[in-house]
């Protein structure tokens, strides 16, 4: 699998504070990768290193094979920061035009119109950014990140200011990008969102990678609960396939079975377990 982002032994220290303590991570081409973790876990630092905004203390990061921070790497990526801000005096169209020039994109007005439509801002292209709501600015930020058809999109909390409809739009957009073969690293606190759209997920806590896998792998089976006349009985190691046998054994033992429930942990359970939240 060719890699859109590869991070090896990544460390970053800000004075005495160690933000990252040796993270290894790979995002494949066309993969939608979710990055989860509590505040201060090091997620944004990792994304900023990938963007070349922060220099790692140790380790390497490459974007589509080019060293992170190099001009070649920058040609391959689009980025929306968590705490971004655009010049409030210019219009959405002017901002996109500036980024087209800097990205050396030849898309022209057609690309700008397409991106504004994609994020639902067709009517607001000539509106001053200072008059846009935070949600509109965030959608404009996503359009800005897509300028020049990047191969890797780094989105740091891209839906934090969006309403449910806006989040739905972004989810649909992410799925479309996956269809186009664009790799996405999605840094988000919204576990349900990550669970819905991401192919793989990594959880970072205290600067280290504590869990990684598909959402299904992380949200592992949690046992089987059987409601009997004597009360609920939980078979913690059992899975869905074990249900007929369990019911048969209980009935054979003279129990009266009223109901059966297969327990599965959610991504939230896995997350809390991984970061030590319970």
């Amino acid at each position: 699998m060719s890699l859109a982002l590869s991070v090896t032994g990544l460390e970053k220290a800000y004075g005495q504070v160690r933000a990252l303590t040796g993270v290894d991570l790979e995002v494949g081409e066309g993969e939608l990768f979710g990055l989860l973790g509590p505040n201060g876990a090091g997620k944004s630092t990792l994304v900023k290193i990938a963007c070349g905004l922060v220099t790692p203390t140790a380790g390497t990061a490459t974007v589509c094979g080019a060293p992170a921070g190099s001009i070649e790497a920058h040609r391959q990526l689009g980025y929306l920061a968590e705490l971004f801000r655009f010049p409030d005096w210019c219009t959405g169209n002017e901002l996109l035009e500036l980024h087209q020039r800097l990205a050396e994109s030849g898309g022209g007005a057609g690309e700008r119109a397409e991106l504004l439509e994609l994020v639902g801002l067709t009517e607001a292209g000539d509106r001053r950014i200072g008059t846009m709501s935070k949600g509109m600015q965030q959608r404009l930020g996503i359009a800005q990140a897509l300028i020049g058809s990047p191969r890797l999109l780094l989105l740091d909390e891209p839906t934090s200011a969006l309403d449910p409809a806006g989040r739905h739009t972004v989810r649909a957009l992410l799925e479309e990008l996956r269809g186009r073969g664009v790799s996405v690293l999605l840094n988000s606190h919204l576990l349900s969102e990550v669970e819905l759209v991401c192919d793989r997920v990594a959880i970072i806590a205290r600067g280290e990678l504590v869990a990684a896998g598909t959402p299904a792998e992380l949200a592992h089976a949690g046992g089987v609960e059987v409601e009997t006349a004597a009360g609920p009985q939980v078979f913690t190691e059992a899975r869905r396939d074990d249900v007929p046998r369990i019911v048969r054994d209980l009935v054979a033992a003279g129990e009266e079975v009223y109901g059966v429930r297969v327990l599965t942990s959610t991504l939230e359970d896995a997350y809390l377990e991984a970061v030590g939240g319970r």
């Binding site: 800000y14 900023k48 963007c51 070349g52 905004l53 922060v54 220099t55 001009i71 070649e72 920058h74 040609r75 990526l77 689009g78 980025y79 929306l80 920061a81 705490l83 971004f84 801000r85 655009f86 010049p87 005096w89 210019c90 500036l98 980024h99 020039r101 800097l102 990205a103 050396e104 930020g141 800005q144």
Partner: protein, 284 residues
């Protein structure tokens, strides 16, 4: 180079849209209006005094003095413009989240800094040259006096303000906007004080003061360039008129040799290298 131009034009468009240039133009018009009024009044007063038998030319003394004052005002206004165009260009913009989206594009930090500098220094240098020229024309219209040198002082002032813009932009890499603004104005003030010390030292024949001023002029070459620009106004003036000018508030100005111009260019390069080095290492 085209991306330097893109950054520079975007910076200029921001200043235009935020009406920075409109405000500057209005205030400069007010400054030049006051200057014209003051110059007219001074020449009228000198005209009332009449001629003298010592060979002193009052119109030259008045012209050189008021234009020297206008140069000081012009340099100050140019410095204000340079500082406000650059004081938060790096750290200030990074803290507000404005810088990061630009630097993730295939644009090097050097390109971004050069673009910002080209916009600020270009505007400020053109501004001080234009205001100086306007003040010179006003002086000529009011009193019929024209300085001995025009191009040299104009270029000197422009280079001085370009150095201050570089210091302010360089400072913005390391300091917050407020701290940087204060620092640059204090450096500017220190340069002017050093120049005054040099003039006092010359009047009192104090080698120590003159040495202090000389060292300060090399450390802060915008001051040396300003002094050279002042000296250029009356570089060909001799006799009692020269003596009278030397006794005036701008009389002790030192002319500069080619080494000052060379050093000013080297100084700009050093400030640029210092800023680029700091910017390259800064986490955003």
């Amino acid at each position: 180079m085209s991306q330097v131009r893109v950054i520079a034009l975007f910076t200029l468009r921001e200043s235009l849209r935020r009406r920075v240039f409109l405000v500057v133009a209005l205030l400069t018009a007010a400054f030049l209006g006051l200057y014209a009024l003051g110059t007219w009044q001074l020449y009228r007063d000198v005209g009332d005094v009449g001629s003298n038998n010592f060979g002193v030319e009052p119109d030259v003394i008045v012209g050189a003095t008021v234009l020297g004052l206008a140069m000081f005002g012009t340099l100050f206004l140019g410095t204000v413009l340079a500082v406000f165009l650059t004081l938060g260009a790096v750290r200030g913009d990074a803290e507000r989240g404005l810088l990061q989206p630009l630097l993730v594009r295939p644009v090097s930090r050097r390109t971004l800094l050069l673009g910002r500098y080209a916009a600020a220094a270009g505007v400020c240098a053109a501004y001080v040259a234009a205001v100086f020229l306007a003040a010179t024309v006003i002086t000529w219209v009011m009193g019929g006096w024209w300085p001995d040198r025009l191009l040299g002082p104009a270029v000197g002032l422009s280079l001085a303000v370009a150095i201050l813009a570089a210091l302010s932009l360089g400072g913005s890499v390391f300091l917050s906007a407020t701290a940087n603004g204060i620092a640059v104005f204090m450096v500017f003030g220190a340069g002017l004080v050093a120049g005054l010390l040099g003039q006092i030292g010359e009047a009192l024949s104090s080698n120590t003061l003159e040495n202090v001023a000389s060292v300060a002029s090399w450390l802060l070459p915008f001051e040396g360039l300003y002094q050279a620009a002042l000296a250029g106004l009356t570089s060909d003036t001799v006799g009692f008129t020269r003596l009278a000018i030397d006794l005036g508030p701008f009389g002790g100005a030192e002319s500069a040799g080619p080494e000052l111009w060379l050093w000013a260019v080297v100084y700009l390069a050093l400030v640029g290298a210092w800023a680029l080095r700091g910017f390259a290492r800064r986490d955003l």
